[in-house]
Symmetry: C2
Subunit: 338 residues, 2 copies
DNA sequence: TTGAAAGCGTTACCAC
DNA sequence: GTGGTAACGCTTTCAA
């Protein structure tokens, strides 16, 4: 393994000079630089990243904490992260979270800094103690899809998204609109589904439509779970004429349930999803689009800026827009059915 | 920042002893250990990973090189990788590849070792020069979904997969079977699609069915591209009665094309995919299942073993099984249509 | 069993 | 401009 002092000896200079050449310092005479470069080439020298990192006190790494990274929406966000990192000198290390214990373990190890120079946290609230420790240690942190007082974040307005979906269904004449989402009291403290539900409840209320609590179902993010819940809804004495699912994956579960119940979409039942992931266009799903890719991209860019700037980033919140994307899973309510 | 010598001073021992406690060496008297542990707790000491890595000469990191990591099949493999890494002390750093240039850049930086202690390479052939350099440097490497002489690999038999799909369609009485896949002369040198095509050609031949070259279409992995290609096929004077697509994503494009051409699946046309990703069950797609999750898991386990063992791993090839999964997108050919 | 000290390969400060 | 030389914080060898 050829080291910096080998190069220095070969070129007849000091190690410091080689380092300066390496780091493109202007304080090196051109001829010296040339000699050093020649030596590096001759010896096929590669600086040892480990030594650089220790010496600089930075590990050239961005940590991404993401729950259920295989979910379509998470993958889409990660795509944005990777795009933002492309061409930068930072490595991306992935911390997947499937359980609250997982989350705590990751944050515990991350507070022993040196594993990441900056942190992008998706959808989940870091444990307060660890968060304080990280902030105190000067670790730049950007949140995506979750907000915490005093931390920069890229978010969307989930309540508004819930309103958009519900208003769309009301406009089509639906009144028996089911909501299928995640229990607001989930172990991770995810708030997105609950916020969308709030938008749904709010719009129902302001439209003078009584909310029928029996049309609300909570379950995990699995398609199969959503399908089972939707089958329950469809077998009610007075089934819903429309279902608002708080994610597209769940919405496809609803579509599958409709199919197995012999219901036509959108003739017999309308379905609205949330996210607009890749599968949604294929499924013809009307949905609320949130800019997933952009959220990952922007969050990472903010983080990189903070890292380059050196200073602690100004805390700020960027709100990305949501919009309704109309496809073929929604239509005017079929009055005779009701 | 509290360091190892702070702890040593506090506990009244040498730094070496603290290190031994840290690394669970048995050569520490219990009472000494207790004193050191107390000191660490009192000072809230966290070892600096950067220093540990430099000193040990290992960076506790696994590099994963993966083309198009957002593709469903890649995500599923990554899920296996993450599962295998869960609980290990290794970080996962992700190198996404979208272009041949991308690939070369990643391998070039990786050869300056110190960014990863081991490498898992998916689906693509490392540039020979870099590969030799990496192997010479003693970097453990495991390939998944690709084989290179002299390197450990986890693979499946894609030719056999192609045979399974084709035989299934022949058994159903189809003879005009289209193949929709990737150009064997693609810039990455991906071979999976080409191998599946070989299986297809082979079985057609051995069954005495003439292969109609006009029923072969090549395109990128996008659903929309596959859909367009399938639309071409369906508008032929003598359209195919079945399509074998070399991935499930492409197969769903075929399904969409059938839908837009007014063809019923499977009554008018049968479709077989490949991979068995999550969406396939939802789409009711008959497909050739390959163990994606398992391939990532096993590849990573082999890599970890090599890393723990210290020695260069024995070069070996693990072949995972493929199987036909029958769903509702295939049926006996409708003779009257032909 | 333990302490002292020599690495690990850079960077960065301080003279010259 | 450049060389010499402390750091950086840990692991590990060598004595004791």
């Amino acid at each position: 393994m050829v080291t910096i002092s080998d190069v220095a000896a070969f070129a007849g200079v000091g190690a410091g000079t080689v380092s300066r050449v390496l780091n493109e310092s202007p304080r090196v005479r051109p001829e010296t630089r040339a000699r050093v470069l020649a030596a590096m080439a001759a010896l096929d020298y590669r600086p040892n990243p480990l030594a650089q990192r220790l010496s600089r006190g930075r590990c050239q790494t961005l940590g991404i904490v993401v729950p259920f990274f295989t979910h379509a929406s998470a993958v889409e966000r990660l795509r944005g992260v990777v795009a933002a990192l492309d061409g930068s000198r930072y490595d991306l290390v992935l911390f997947n979270v499937e359980t609250p214990l997982h989350r705590d373990e990751h944050f515990a190890t991350l507070t022993r800094s040196g594993r990441a120079d900056g942190l992008l946290v998706m959808s989940l609230r870091p444990p307060p103690g660890d968060l304080d420790r990280l902030i105190a240690a000067g670790m730049p942190i950007v949140l995506v899809d979750v907000r915490v007082e005093g931390v920069s974040a890229v978010v969307t307005d989930d309540v508004e998204g819930g309103r958009l979906a519900t208003r769309h269904l009301l406009d089509l004449g639906h009144e028996r609109i089911a909501f299928l989402g995640q229990d607001p009291a989930n172990p991770f403290g995810f708030t997105a589904s609950g916020d969308r539900e709030r938008g749904y409840v709010e719009v129902l209320g302001s439209s003078g439509v009584d909310r029928d609590e029996s049309l609300t179902r909570y379950g995990s993010h699995d398609r199969s779970v959503a399908q089972a819940l939707a089958e329950e809804l469809f077998s009610l004495d007075e089934p819903p004429t429309a279902v608002f699912a708080s994610s597209d994956v769940q919405a496809t579960g609803v579509l599958a349930a409709a199919r197995s119940a012999g219901l036509r979409v959108p003739e017999d039942v309308s379905v609205v999803g949330y996210d607009d992931v890749e599968i949604s266009a294929y499924a013809g799903l009307t949905t609320v689009r949130q800019p997933l890719f952009e959220s990952g991209l922007l969050g990472t860019q903010i983080l990189l800026e903070a890292l380059e700037g050196g200073a602690v980033p100004a805390v700020g919140e960027r709100v990305l827009p949501v919009e309704l994307v109309q496809r073929t899973s929604t239509a005017a309510v079929h009055r005779s059915a009701a």
